[in-house]
C-alpha cells in the first residue's frame, strides 16, 4: 500500500475507534425493553377483555345469523310466521281489502286513506262490484304513479296443531269463524276415537283476519307447523277488467247498430242479434270469473290439522318432570345449534380450501419473512 493509502487507512481506523468514554448502551437498552414490556403487558391486560367481549359478540351475532331457529318462537317450525307478517303488510296496503272487510279496518292502515267522499260503490248498470278508493278499476285502468296499487291477493294458510284435548281444540277452531262477516267452515271432520282422535278443518275467513285467527289458534294448542302462501291475482283481475270493457263496448256498438238501422233486412238484424248474444254470453262468463276471483281474495283459506301428542307424552308427568323435560329440550336445541354451527364451520373450512390453502401458505411465508427481517433489522 502506498503512502496516501496508509494515511487514509490510519485516519479511517482512528475515525472508527470509540473514544467517547465508558458507555453502557446495553444496560440502557435492557431497561428500555423492560419498561416497554411492562407498558405492553399493562395494555394487554386492558386489551384482552375488550377483545374477548368483541369476539363473544361476533360469535353470538354469527350464531344468530347462521342458525335461523335461534331467533324464533319455539313452537313454530317454519318460516311462515314471517311470511304471514309480510302478507299482513301487503293486505294492509291494499285499499280493496280494507273496503271488503270493514270490520277489520282497525287492523290495517287502509281506513286512514279512506275518505267520506269515496265510499265503496256499485258501478251502475253493470252488476259489477268495484271496491276501491271511490275509483273504478274499469273506468280508470291507469292510476297515477303515486297512487297505491290495488292488489288482489289470495292467501292460503295451513296449521298443524298438537293437543291432548283434540275435541276441545276442534270446537275452539270452529268458534273462531265470524259468520256475520260472511266467514264459514268449508270443511270440518273428526276421525278416530280415544287417543287417536284427529280433527281437520278448512276455514274461509276474511283476508285481513288470518293473522288474528292464527294467533288465537296458537293459544289453543301447540303449533307443530304453520305455513302461509300468498298468490297475487292483480294481473288476472286487470286482464279480466280490460276484456270486460272491450266486450261491453262491442255490445254497445251492436245495440247502436240495431238502433240506427231499424229498416235493415231481417237477415242482417238476426246476424247482429246473434253476435249480441255471443258477446253477452262472454260478458257473463267474464263477470263470473271476476266474481270468483274477488271471492277468493276476500276470504282466505285456512286449513287446520289437529292431532294428539305421541302416546309417551300423554303419560301423567311426574313431579319435577316438567323441569327435566324443559332441560332436555333446551339441551337438544343447544346440541342442534352446536351441530349446525360445527357443520357450518366445516362447510366453510372444506368449501374454502382453495382459498385457505394459498392464504395459509402466503401467511406463513409472510410471517417467516417478517420474523427474519425483525431479527436482522
Amino acid at each position: 500500500m502506498n503512502e496516501p493509502n496508509d494515511t487514509l487507512s490510519r485516519a479511517l481506523e482512528r475515525a472508527s475507534e470509540w473514544r467517547g468514554g465508558e458507555t453502557a448502551q446495553w444496560r440502557m437498552a435492557l431497561e428500555r425493553v423492560r419498561h416497554e414490556d411492562r407498558r405492553r403487558s399493562a395494555e394487554r391486560i386492558l386489551r384482552w377483555p375488550v377483545a374477548g367481549l368483541a369476539a363473544a359478540a361476533a360469535v353470538v351475532a354469527l350464531v344468530a345469523l347462521t342458525i335461523p331457529e335461534s331467533g324464533r318462537a319455539p313452537q313454530s317450525t317454519s318460516r311462515s310466521t314471517e311470511d304471514a307478517r309480510d302478507f299482513s303488510r301487503m293486505v294492509a296496503m291494499s285499499p280493496r281489502t280494507a273496503h271488503e272487510m270493514p270490520a277489520l279496518a282497525p287492523q290495517s292502515d287502509a281506513p286512514a286513506r279512506r275518505t267520506p267522499a269515496s265510499p265503496p260503490f256499485r258501478e251502475a248498470g253493470t252488476g259489477f262490484e268495484v271496491w276501491s278508493n271511490g275509483r273504478s278499476a274499469d273506468a280508470d285502468p291507469l292510476p297515477a304513479p303515486w297512487a297505491p296499487i290495488d292488489r288482489t291477493i289470495v292467501r292460503q294458510a295451513t296449521m298443524s296443531l298438537r293437543t291432548v284435548d283434540v275435541r276441545k281444540a276442534f270446537n275452539s277452531a270452529l268458534g273462531l269463524v265470524d259468520t256475520l262477516a260472511g266467514e264459514f267452515a268449508e270443511r270440518a271432520a273428526v276421525s278416530g276415537e280415544g287417543d287417536s282422535l284427529r280433527g281437520s278443518i278448512t276455514l274461509r275467513i276474511g283476508a285481513g283476519r288470518v293473522d288474528e285467527v292464527m294467533r288465537s289458534l296458537r293459544e289453543v294448542a301447540e303449533v307443530i307447523e304453520e305455513n302461509t302462501i300468498a298468490e297475487d291475482l292483480t294481473e288476472r283481475v286487470t286482464d279480466l277488467g280490460a276484456r270486460l270493457r272491450n266486450e261491453r263496448r262491442i255490445e254497445a256498438e251492436l245495440l247502436a247498430l240495431l238502433d240506427r238501422r231499424p229498416e235493415a233486412p231481417l237477415a242482417d238484424v238476426l246476424t247482429v242479434r246473434n253476435s249480441l248474444e255471443e258477446v253477452r254470453l262472454r260478458i257473463e262468463r267474464l263477470e263470473a270469473n271476476r266474481a270468483g276471483l274477488d271471492n277468493r281474495a276476500r276470504l282466505s283459506s285456512l286449513r287446520i290439522e289437529i292431532v294428539p301428542p305421541p302416546s309417551e307424552d300423554r303419560r301423567e308427568p311426574k313431579e319435577g318432570a316438567a323441569f327435566l323435560a324443559s332441560l332436555r329440550k333446551s339441551f337438544a336445541r343447544g346440541a342442534d345449534a352446536l351441530g349446525e354451527s360445527v357443520s357450518l364451520i366445516v362447510e366453510v373450512a372444506v368449501g374454502g380450501l382453495v382459498i385457505w390453502v394459498p392464504l395459509i401458505v402466503v401467511g406463513f411465508w409472510l410471517y417467516r419473512s417478517l420474523a427474519w427481517r425483525a431479527t436482522w433489522a
Partner: protein, 184 residues
Amino acid sequence: MKPRGTDGSVTDEALLARFSGGDDSALGALAERHESRLLGLALGLCRGNESLAREAVQEAWVRVIRHARAFRGRSSFSTWVYRITINRCRDLNARERRASRPVAASSSSPDARDSSGVQEVEWLQTVLDRLDERGRETVILCHLRGMTHEQASAVLGIPVGTLKTRMRRAMRTLSDAAGSEAKR
C-alpha cells in the same frame, strides 16, 4: 453451538443462550466484548456523530434483547449484531436526511476538541462523502479494529472477493478525493 471457544472462553452464542435463560450478566459480558467496536462502527457510519452512534448501538441492543430467543445460530453472534448495527445506522441516517439535518460530527469527543482532531474528522468526512453508502460501510467495517475480511464479508453478506474488489475501488476513490482535497 459450542459453549466454549478455542481459547477456552465462553462463546458469544453461549452467553446469548444464558441471557435468553434470564441471566442479564451474560448480556453485560457480550457488551464488554462488542460494545466499543459497535460504537466505533456506528460512529464511522454516522459521520462522527456520537449521539447518533450511541442511539444506533442502543437500538441494536434492543433488537438483540427482543430477538435473542429467535437467534438460530445460522451465523455467529458478532455477524448478527454488526449487521443489526449497520441497519440501524442506515435508518438513523435516513431519518436525519428526512429531517433535513445534515449528520455532523459532535464536538463532545475529547480528541475532536483539539483543532487537528477536528480538521482530520472534517477532512475524512469530506472524503468519505465521495463514497456511496455501500462503499462507506465496506471501508469503515474493514478498518474496524480486529475485523478480518472474512468477518466483514459475513456481516455484509457478500463473498470475500466482492468485498476486496469493493474495498479496492473505494480506497481508489478515497485516495483520489484525498489528493484533490490536498491540492485545494
